[in-house]
Structure formats: C-alpha cells, structure tokens
C-alpha cells in the first residue's frame, strides 16, 4: 500500500515538474502541435532602414512561414559589431539576441517566424543595439469603412446593417455577425431565429437584416470577416427609438403653423373690420380702387419709363 502511494506521489511530482516547464509563457510563436512547420508556405518581407525607425504593415491571409529581414545602413560611427534582437508585442523573443557584423556598410537581421493563428499576429520588431528599430505589423485585412455614427431605427421596423471589405483588399472566406452582450460577443445564428435575423453575404459585402426591432436590440454589432489566419472585426452601433421621439418636434411645428395661420387671419379680420367701420361704401371703394390701382400704375409706370 505504502509503495503504491509512493509511486503515485512520484508520478505526481514528475507531472508537476514537467507541467511547470510546459506552462511557461514563451514570447516566441508556439506552433500548435498538430501542424508541422514544414508544410506551411513561405513568404518574405524585407525592409531597409535609413533613419531611426520604420513601421511596415503586413497583410496576411493564410498561415505562413514568414521570413522578416531587416537591413540597417548604420549611423555615424559604424561599429564593426552590434547587438541585434527581435521583439514580439514588446517582449523580447527568446534566443534571438545575436551579434551582427557590419557587411558591405550594412547590418542585417533575419529570422523566420511561423504565423499560424491569431496569436501569432501582432507587432514584430527587429532592434539594432539601442538605436534603430524596424516594426512589422502583421494583421489580417482590416475593414476600412467603418460607420462611426450609430444607425437609428424604430421599434417594429426592420433595419439593415452592412459591412464592406474594400476592393483593394483580398476578399474574406465568409462573414460572421456578433452582437455585443456586456463585454462578450455572441454570434448571431440565423437558424436559431429565422424570423428575426437575415444574413445576406456577398463576396465583399455582408448585410444583417433585423426584423421586428425592440428596444433591447440596440447596441453594438460586430461583423467578422473570416480569413484563414484570423477574423477581423468591424463594429456598428444600432439605436432603437420609439415613434414618439420624432412626434414631439412634429407636433410642435404643426402647432406653430396653426398659431401663425390663426394669427394672420385674425389680424386681417380685425383690419378689415376697422376699415369697414370707417365708412359704408369704403370697402367697395377700396375694392374698386385696388383693382383700379392694380392696373392704373401699370399705365403710369410705362409712361414714367418712357420719360426716362
């Protein structure tokens, strides 16, 4: 009994020791155990730096073995040897510190990285000594046109939320839609609620149609463009308002119009009453005089113009 317990304790100890090694976070990219490194395609990016720093955006669609090459022309005092290393997202990559020789008036750093998943994406920098730095920002294609103003719609109405990937960028494999739930994103599945949601996907565009809106439908919606390497998100805000909202200024303006019209008509009535009390035939005379005056000055004005 004691021996089996000892053996169990020994196995547990062994497990713990090996676990500690496994749990250590390595700054370098960790390939998932299932995909062998050699089967990935290769690609190369190189940048030649003349100044102090430079940032290069790299757009990736698929998992790839990416060779990043940095060339630096050096500064005034061209040291024969300089220390160079690589960084990912601010943390130094393990075992990347090397001594770089000055070759043909340049320093060169090159390293191959395995980019396989979303975690592999990010910012990779090659650093020469403490002076020069070249940053490579690896990312899937981003959704450029993001509507910053919220879409407004009414309770009971239906709304179309759209996301578009620019023509200049590669098209995604598919699109997903998510609704923000607190800090989480919940994916919207049309199958679950076919009466309420409709997703129309074209190659570069996607539309989410929400029917029969309620106030609860308001909030942030995310469209995800799915690429082999990761899914890029764009967000749109939806605001749902009740029909009472525009009704308030509407009724205000209608009341203003009614008041104006009533005021004008009342004013005119009071004016005509005043004129009527001035004399019995006064109104008739005014009418004929208006008609006369309407055309009379016509003749006199033409005469006037003739004189001029």
């Amino acid at each position: 009994m004691a021996a089996s317990w000892k053996r169990l304790l020994f196995h547990i100890l062994l497990l713990l020791v090996s676990c500690r090694h496994i749990n250590t976070k390595t700054p370098g990219p960790t390939p998932p155990p299932l995909v062998p490194i050699s089967s990935l395609p290769t690609d190369e990016r190189s940048v030649s730096l003349k100044g102090e720093s430079h940032t290069e955006n790299v757009e990736l669609l698929n998992p790839v073995n990416l060779a990043l090459q940095c060339t630096w022309t050096g500064n005034q005092n061209k040291l024969p040897n300089i220390t160079g290393f690589w960084r990912k997202d601010g943390d130094e990559v393990e075992n990347s510190r090397v001594t770089v020789q000055l070759e043909g008036d340049e320093y060169e750093l090159k390293r191959v990285f395995s980019i396989v998943s979303e975690e592999s994406l990010g910012s990779y920098s090659c650093v020469f000594g403490s002076e020069a730095k070249i940053e490579f920002v690896l990312a899937a294609p981003q959704i450029g046109e993001v509507r910053d103003k919220p879409i407004v719609s009414y309770v009971g109405d239906s709304v179309v939320i759209a996301c578009k990937m620019e023509e200049t960028k590669p098209k995604p494999g598919s699109w997903n839609w998510y609704k923000a739930n607190g800090t989480d994103k919940e994916q919207i599945f049309v199958v679950a609620e076919p009466l309420r949601y409709e997703i129309k996907n074209e190659e570069r565009k996607t539309k989410l149609v929400v029917h029969n809106l309620t106030e609860a439908d308001g909030g942030l919606y995310y469209c995800g463009a799915v690429y082999a390497i990761s899914t890029t998100m764009g967000h749109v805000e939806l605001k749902v308002i009740s029909f009472q909202e525009p009704l308030k200024p509407f009724i205000a303006i209608v009341i203003e119009v009614i008041v104006l019209v009533a005021a004008i008509l009342l004013y005119e009535k009071s004016q005509s009453k005043k004129n009527y009390t001035e004399g019995n035939g006064a109104t008739d005379q005014m009418n004929t005089m208006t008609q006369g005056e309407n055309n009379g000055p016509e003749g006199s004005s033409s005469t006037r113009q003739r004189k001029i």
Binding site: V152, T290, N295, E298, S302
Partner: protein
C-alpha cells in the same frame, strides 16, 4: 348712367392717387407687398431649397430599400416634374378661385406628401408621396406665389424676385446640415415626418395673401347664356390662358426659355464630375460648385437691383446675361483643359453670377410681354413648357459624355443651346427699340400689342363674349383710343351704350 359714374369718379381719383404714391406696390395698404416678399422667400426655400437638399436622404434610401442610386434619384426627378407639370393647374385654379386657398392647399399637400412618405415601405410609395403628391403641392404653391408678388410690384419687381429666389441658395446652405442632423437623430422616417411639418409652413405663407376679387369672376355670369359644356371649356381655357399659345410674342419667349433650359442645368449636374476628370481633387471640385452657388445668390440680388434702376430694358439685360452665361458654359471645359484651377474657378464664378442674374429676369419679363392680368396663367404655362427643355438637356449631355468620353462636347452643346435661346429672344417684336413698351393691357384679338385701358377690360372681361369684341371694334375705329385717360372713358361709355 348711374353705374359708370362712381367708377368714373374712382378712376379719376385713382389715377392721381396712383401717381402721387411711391408706386412701389399697388397693394391697398402699402408695404404689404414686402410681407409677401417674405412669404415668397420662405415658401420658395421650402419648395426648391428643400428639393435640392434631398440628396442626404438618398444615401439612406439606397441602404434601406436596397435599390440603385438611379432608381432613388427618380424621386426628386418626379417631384420636380410634378411641380412643373401642375404649374398651369395651379395658376388656372388661382384664376378661377382665390389664390390664398390654392397656395394653402398646396402647402397642405406638400406637407402631407412628406408625412405619408415617412410611412413608406417600398420605393413606389416614395415616388407617389414624395414625388407626385408633394410635387402637386409645390406646383400649386410656387408659380401662384411668384405671380402674386409680381402683381404687387412694378418698379421693384425684378429686385423682389431676385431676393425671393436667392432663398433657394441660402436655404440649401442651412438645410444640408439640418437634414444631416435630423437623419442622424431620427432616421429618415422621423426626418421626413419633421420635414412634412416644416413644409406646412407654406400654409402660413399662403395665409398672408390677401384675398382679391378676381376680375374673371364676372365672366361666369355671361356664360350662362350658352350651353354649359362649351362654356365650361371656354372658361377652363381662359383660366389656363390657353389663348396665349397663339400669341406670337409669348410663344417666341417660351421657346427661347425652353432652349435656355436645355443648357442651363448641365453645369449643375456635370461640373463636379468634369472637375474631377480634369484632375482636381474631390475637395477642389466640391469647392468650385459651392463657390458658383454663392455667386449665383449674389447674381440674383444684384441683377434684380440693377434691372430695376431702369437704365435698360429688361429684355436687353436678360439677353446680356444669357449670352454671357452661354459663353461661360462653353468656356468651362476650355479653362479646365489648360489644367489651371484658377481659370476653372474664375469661369465658374462668372458662370454662377450670370446664371443667377438671368433667373431673376426670366420671370420678370413675362408681364412685359403678356400684361399683368394674364401673368398668372402665362407663368404656369411657361413652367410647363420650359420643363421639357430641362428633361431633354440632362440626358443629352449625359449621352454626349458617354459617346465622346469627356464633358467638353456636353458643355459646348449646352452653351450653344443657351446662346440659341438668346438669339430666339431677339426675334421678339419691338426687340430693338430702346424704350420699354407698355405691356399689353388686354387680350390681343387683333395685331395690336398695346391694348385698351385696363379699367375697361375689368368691366367687360370674359372669355369669348361679343361685348368685349364689340368694344374693341368701336375703339379701334377711334384714333384717340390709346393712352390717354379721358379718351378711353369715352370708348367705355360707348360700349356701355352698346349694351
């Protein structure tokens, strides 16, 4: 002769009184004409200023209804076409009934159209509500208001027209950000609802028109003699002023304005695209358009003020402005071909000024040709007929661009049409005389432009009755039956005797 005497007295009283007055307006209580100018300002901005700023809704419609931009743009085309098509209807109704009622009804219809549009569930609903119903309302509002204001002014007529029409440009400056705000806060449905309420303000503008006894009202009494069908037709044709269609000066003028319209709108549609094609940035192209719009407003007011100084005949000034506008339209592609932004900007500013200047005058010339009495119907018919020019011009310029690949041909042809319109105008009778002729005072049954005294016409106006014709024949036999007051009274007395 009891009946003539009070009128006689009134006439003799009226004449010196009229000459003693400032003659700025003929309204009974003076100064009311300026209130009407304010009403014209507001109502024109709510008709055309609103129409011009509807572009902001179109983006929303394209997204909501998932239709093409061209299908959506048909909404405003329908609205404009309806406004122009129903103009003669509006003026005819004003001739038959009270102008105030017609304008107020038009305002209600315009507002109703937008209110119904806010409930639209398909594009066809929008065509019917924002297009047809609102367009009908606008048709009942615009031309009657213009005619009413013009009837109230003689000496300052062009100036008040310029001020009234300047509201289009000014209000579109205000409406664009306002509509943007409304759409962002309430979505297009709520925004359309609020716009409908805003359009109802036209009703208040219409209420400012004082009711007048229309001189055509006595005509109804005469027609009872005949069979009702023919009489109704005659009455309708008189309200529509269809007899103007055989009036040579009017036909010539309408043709000239139609030709003008073919080319007039081309820069508005194509200038931005042309600037972009010439290599200027989006911002630069939009700025050229805005600058042209600003000089347009300035041109309307300045030309109105200048025309009313009376140094030149209105028709001559109109010719000058249209010729210049046509020339500048033709020069637009030339200036941008050279690649100079300054040249394009300069020509666009000049074009904007000239096109605004001629807008004030186009309407003001009409009473000179047909007389104040028929001005209402004349304007309505003019709007209808000139709309065909606009309908022809834009597709033609688009076609030319598609065929030749750039806008040079479109602009040159547009400018050519404008100049052609100017040349047509020179064939108007008495064009080359230096002095302004008195406008015709009555229906020209013969070959005279100068008519009888207006008071005469007032008493005997009716569509076809023999009593009018009888009077004319009597007067035309008398040599002194033109101009002088007491001579025409003699004529009138004789006509009364005839009855």
């Amino acid at each position: 002769m009891a009946q003539p005497d009070p009128s006689l007295r009134d006439m003799t009283n009226a004449k010196p009184k009229a000459e003693g007055k400032s003659d700025d307006d003929e309204a009974p209580d003076g100064g009311w004409g300026w209130v009407l100018v304010g009403a014209l300002f507001v109502s024109t901005s709510l008709v055309f200023g609103l129409m011009r700023s509807l572009g902001i809704f179109f983006v929303e419609f394209v997204q909501y209804f998932e239709e093409s931009a061209q299908a959506i743009s048909w909404i405003s085309s329908t609205g404009l076409a309806a406004q122009q098509f129903f103009s003669p209807l509006g003026t005819a109704l004003c001739n038959a009934y009270d102008t105030r009622v017609v304008v107020m009804t038009g305002g209600c219809l315009a507002g109703l159209g937008f209110i119904l549009a806010s409930q639209a569930t398909s594009l066809v609903h929008l065509y019917l509500t924002m297009g047809v119903i609102s367009g009908l309302g606008w048709g009942l509002v615009f031309t009657p208001m213009v005619a009413t204001v013009m009837a109230h002014f003689t000496r300052r007529r062009t100036l008040v027209l310029g001020v009234g029409f300047s509201s289009i440009g000014l209000s579109s400056f205000a409406f664009n950000p306002l509509f943007q705000l409304l759409v962002e806060t309430y979505a297009w449905r709520g925004a359309l609802l609020i716009l409908g309420a805003l359009s109802l303000n036209i009703v208040a503008c219409g209420a400012l028109i004082r009711p007048r006894r229309r001189s055509k009202a006595p005509a109804k009494v005469d027609s009872e003699r005949r069979s009702s069908c023919a009489a109704t037709l005659r009455r309708v044709s008189s309200y529509l002023e269809l007899s103007l269609l055989v009036d040579r000066p009017y036909v010539v003028y309408t043709l000239a304005v139609t030709l003008l319209n073919v080319g007039y709108f081309v820069p508005y549609f194509h200038l931005v695209a042309h600037s972009r094609q010439a290599g200027f940035s989006e911002y630069q192209a939009a700025f050229v358009m805005s600058a042209a719009g600003a000089t347009d407003i300035l041109g309307r007011i300045v030309s109105g003020w200048f025309s009313d100084l009376g140094h030149f005949r209105l028709i001559h000034l109109l010719t000058v402005w249209t010729t210049l506008a046509g020339l500048f339209i033709m020069l637009l592609p030339v200036s941008s071909l050279s690649g100079s932004y300054a040249a394009l900007m300069a020509i666009s500013l000049l074009y904007g000024f000239c096109s605004g200047a001629l807008t004030s005058l186009v309407f003001a010339v009409v009473p000179m040709i047909v007389g104040v009495e028929r001005m209402m119907g004349a304007l309505g018919l003019l709007q209808l007929i000139e709309s065909s020019g606009g309908l022809l011009g834009t597709p033609l310029s688009g076609l030319l661009k598609d065929v030749t690949g750039n806008y040079t041909a479109s602009f040159v042809v547009a400018g050519g049409f404008v100049v052609l319109g100017t040349l047509t105008m020179t064939t108007l009778p008495h064009y080359f005389s230096c002095k302004e002729l008195p406008p015709p005072q009555r229906r020209s049954l013969g070959n005279k432009d100068k008519g009888l005294d207006p008071e005469l016409e007032q008493m005997h106006r009716s569509p076809t009755d023999t009593s009018c014709r009888g009077v004319n024949e009597v007067c035309s036999n008398l040599k002194e039956c033109e101009g002088d007051n007491w001579v025409t009274i003699t004529c009138w007395k004789n006509a009364k005797d005839m009855e």
